[in-house]
């Protein structure tokens, strides 16, 4: 039974991304400019998941090239969200500079360093490190500014926590897979996918909570 559940979870669990999509559509009118960039992230994730399932399960073609483009859009959507969150807390040029740096690195990596039909591990690791950095900086900003007395009602807190848990989890999984774990048996692959899917669902649940808590007045941007 456990094996059936695990198999079902790995195969169909990504459908739970529909939760964040539904919440986004329901709360669209109340979203501040910063939170609207999350819609790009959710749209990219949902579309990416659909394309991934179709190409791998039905068309049986290598879709890793699309993964390169997906990472590019995903990171820039997250960076644009953090740009709105930080405001004048960091120099205005910092986030655009990070976006240009990452985009440049991703392009160079895809074209010259790693195969376009393979997993772009360097870009993924860089993405994880940069997003973790931005998430920690957002925590620092919250502590420094103390904009809200009830942290649990802040959309940015939930979304930021989701990003931190997801990208830290993915980075750790990645390190375990490539640095510490030498064997690559099928059980490990399944467990790795299982854990990865778990953190994806956690991320989208946190994003859903954050979007649901977006204030009714669009004047509030935090």
């Amino acid at each position: 039974m456990v094996e059936t559940f695990t198999y079902w979870f790995v195969r169909y669990g990504s459908a739970l991304l529909i939760i964040s999509t539904l919440v986004l559509l329901l709360r669209w009118r109340t979203l501040s400019p910063g939170l609207r960039w999350i819609s790009l992230f959710i749209a990219t994730a949902t579309l990416g998941e659909i394309i991934s399932k179709v190409t791998s399960r039905y068309l049986h073609i290598n879709n890793l090239a699309l993964f390169h483009g997906y990472t590019f859009i995903e990171f820039n959507a997250i960076a644009l969200f953090y740009r709105q969150v930080f405001g004048s807390f960091v120099p205005r040029w910092l986030i655009p500079a990070v976006m240009v740096f990452f985009s440049g690195f991703a392009l160079i990596n895809t074209l010259y360093i790693q195969a376009v039909t393979g997993i772009h591990t360097y870009t993924l690791v860089l993405e994880c490190l940069l997003v973790i950095g931005m998430a920690l900086l957002a925590y620092y900003q919250m502590l420094a500014e103390l904009r809200t007395t009830r942290l649990e009602t802040s959309p940015v807190f939930w979304i930021n926590t989701g990003f931190l848990l997801y990208f830290a989890g993915v980075l750790f999984l990645f390190m375990l897979r490539n640095v510490f774990i030498k064997s690559a048996g099928s059980s490990f692959e399944l467990l790795s996918n299982y854990l990865h899917l778990g953190v994806i669902i956690l991320l989208h649940l946190f994003i859903s909570i954050g979007l649901w808590l977006s204030p009714k007045s669009r004047l509030i941007s935090y």
């Binding site: 502590l143 103390l146 007395t149 848990l165 830290a168 989890g169 999984l173 048996g185 059980s187 467990l191």
Partner: protein
């Protein structure tokens, strides 16, 4: 062998992954606790500042009451007390020099003079304590008297405009009177202005008092910090009526004061 290695790897990833996630969650929880602690500290700081401010207001009020008492005591001692002493002396002389029942005309005239001065001083002291005509004839009348006094002291043109529709209760009238008195005192003593404009009008949301002069102006922030020019008094009196006072001035640019009293002022029976 390969099987056991794979089992070890699986256990390692499970334990490692769980430890990492637990560490992350502990970090997030720690952040939440630290945030709440900072919020509580900040709220405590704000409450302490409010308390200090209220304490300062109370002390200032008590100081102001004491200053007023000292002033009245000094006026009574220096003027009324001295006049009564003079009268006693003169009455004593009348008894020594005149025939019984017939006081000399000169001494009588002197005594009358001293009595008249004493009556004027008592009237002035009484007027300072409670402005003449404020209760009986209204705020506009009392303010006219203030403006006339100011124009007698310095060479200045004062344009006073008071809406006819204004009807305010006694307490509000007195506070507004003191507020204008403070403004005019400053104008007379420091402003070196040649024109003053004072307007009191009834707005939809309350009372509006506007004062402006073409005097020498001053550095507001410095004066406010030094608690000079009665700025705090003006602000406090506005706050006593749940209102606000805003000052616009700089050296060489005169002074503009706007006082807003938010609530519509209720009609009061004429006293």
């Amino acid at each position: 062998m390969a099987q056991s290695q794979e089992s070890v790897d699986l256990i390692l990833i499970l334990v490692g992954g769980s430890a990492a996630m637990i560490l992350l969650v502990v970090g997030v929880v720690g952040f939440i606790l630290l945030y709440q602690k900072r919020i509580v500290e900040q709220e405590l700081l704000v409450k302490q500042m409010e308390l200090n401010y209220q304490q300062a207001v109370v002390y200032q009020t008590l100081d102001a009451v004491e200053d007023e008492r000292k002033r009245v005591a000094r006026d009574l001692h220096d003027e009324v007390g001295a006049a009564l002493s003079a009268m006693r002396l003169l009455v004593g002389q009348i008894g020594q020099t005149a025939a019984p029942g017939t006081p000399p005309a000169e001494l009588s005239s002197k005594v009358k003079g001293v009595i008249d001065n004493t009556i004027d001083n008592v009237r002035r002291i009484s007027n300072d304590l409670l402005p003449q005509g404020l209760n009986e004839l209204g705020l506009a009348y009392a303010l006219e008297g203030l403006c006339e006094t100011a124009m007698n002291l310095v060479d200045v043109d004062i344009r006073l405009t008071v809406d006819e529709e204004i009807a305010v209760e006694t307490r509000t009238s007195l506070i507004l009177y003191r507020l204008v008195q403070e403004l005019l005192n400053n104008a007379v003593k420091y402003a070196e202005a040649t024109e003053l404009n004072l307007q009191i009008s009834q707005q939809a949301d309350g009372l509006l008092l506007e004062y402006s002069d073409n005097g020498k102006g001053f550095d507001f922030s410095t004066a406010y910090q030094k608690k000079s020019l009665g700025l705090k008094n003006i602000e406090t009196r506005a706050q006593m009526l749940n209102g606000t006072a805003t000052f616009v001035t700089k050296p060489g640019a005169g002074l503009h004061v706007t006082v807003r009293i938010p609530q519509p002022i209720a009609l009061s029976p004429t006293l």
